[in-house]
Symmetry: none
Subunit: 248 residues, 2 copies
DNA sequence: ATTTTAAATGCGACAATTTGCAGCTTTTTA
DNA sequence: TAAAAAGCTGCAAATTGTCGCATTTAAAAT
């Protein structure tokens, strides 16, 4: 394997998993850890990755969120991992654009063949990294805060889609108010997505459970599957379980 | 075996395997490694392959994995800086998605108020970082290689826009063939953008001047302003100047 | 067809790059 | 604080690249 090729492989792994361990790479490419270290140093010198003790991290140059900026990234990884299991080959999937969604996009298996519709710039970017995934961007005016397309055009487009699943991150969710948001335009788009999909999957870290905001996206009865980082049996989830939705 | 024949074989192997080793080629064609190296150097000079220690890599391999490293970034910054001067407050601007465009997006002044239309994920992201710029994403299926939306939907949307300026990066440009590209879908989108704008600005590093590819986007007569990193008086630009377009 | 000319090829010596290893230092972890 | 893991440095071996030069081959000109 040529040096450049190897470094390309490393970069690919980094962008895929956000981080790599020298030991893992050494093992999977069958070169000494020394060589890997030298590669990582070189890549770090060129600003391609961030070198840390034991391996390297994605510089998030390509990726839109700095890893360190993501709040409670570990919980979100757990959620994302659960979400991935719902996706099967050939599915049509509507997707929002929160940080949890991004985590999920990164965890999608390499060989998954599916079609993702999204209006989120970072999500589209992540989905597009997967060779076998078709990405359809639902365009419109970009809301700066959330990097997502909002507006009538986008909503009309979404209404013309019939998807198997809809993945949304929730800003706030409780049994009484359902999913709520603080941005009118974003709420409209999310609502349209829910309408356009057979099943709606909501991902939320437990901290956001039982909180609510000003604008209603949909009621809990519109949600089919709720994913948190908690064990599905956790008592915090009791009220949701009673409404009949599936909890992962 | 003739030289041309041999180089054709090498190219074939490269496109087949994404990478070749000088030693392997030398063995399988039964010529000295020296000859192989000379061939590879020649092919690399013509931009057909990327030469590395020990062999060569295919160009597409490079763009797939190493997408983050921008080739000739300095020239592109110079071009971008010139391009920025064309943009005035209140303008509606159509934009493609090459690396030069990205540079331009980063160089836009903080206080500029304008509306940018684009189908490029990275370009949209960069534009969206500017507080006073409205970004409209032209959605459709995302072409992985170029991270840009392509297809009938996008083209229809573009046709409904009447923009002041259209900024495009050129894959290849010469007086005879005009702007040419190697991706049919992308070429269609670029063409639609040119049609939808009053003025078309093409940005290209000088290296791409006087080269051409398979698919025609538009003739030089459709271009209003050409920007390269060269001094506008440079003799390399003489043929373009004679067609009457403005050179920056 | 033959000569002339230019290009292409292979070889050998030498330079540069890459890689793994051993010993030692630094950082992390328990 | 000590053991373990990771990193760094210098070094040697192997591989690869480069240069000049002789030889061969192909193309052009007569």
């Amino acid at each position: 394997m040529l040096k450049k090729e190897r470094q390309a492989y490393i970069l690919h792994q980094v962008s895929l998993h956000n981080s790599v361990l020298s030991a893992d790479l050494s093992h999977s490419i069958n070169v000494s850890e020394d060589t890997i270290r030298r590669d990582l140093n070189e890549l770090a010198d060129n600003g391609k990755v961030i070198k840390v003790h034991g391996g390297a991290l994605s510089k998030s140059f390509n990726s839109f969120y700095l890893r360190s900026d993501v709040y409670d990234a570990d919980s979100k990884k757990v959620i994302a991992q659960k979400a991935v299991t719902l996706i099967k080959d050939g599915m049509f999937i509507l997707s929002g654009g929160g940080t949890t969604i991004i985590e999920m996009a990164r965890l999608l298996p390499e060989n998954l063949k599916a079609t993702f519709f999204t209006g989120s710039i970072p999500a589209a970017y992540e989905y597009a990294q997967h060779p076998n995934i078709d990405v359809i961007f639902i365009g419109d005016k970009i809301a700066k805060k959330s990097q997502i397309a909002v507006g009538g055009e986008a909503i009309t487009k979404i209404k013309h889609i019939k998807a198997d699943l809809c993945f949304l991150g929730a800003n706030a969710i409780d049994c009484e108010h359902g999913i709520t948001d603080n941005d009118w335009d974003v709420a409209q788009v999310k609502n349209a997505m829910i309408e356009a999909a057979s099943q709606t999957v909501v991902m939320s870290i437990s901290e956001k459970l039982n909180s609510h905001q000003r604008i209603r996206v949909c009621g809990v009865d519109n949600i089919d599957i709720l994913i948190t980082e908690l064990d599905p049996c956790n008592h915090l989830l009791d009220p949701f379980r009673q409404t009949g939705l599936t909890i992962l």
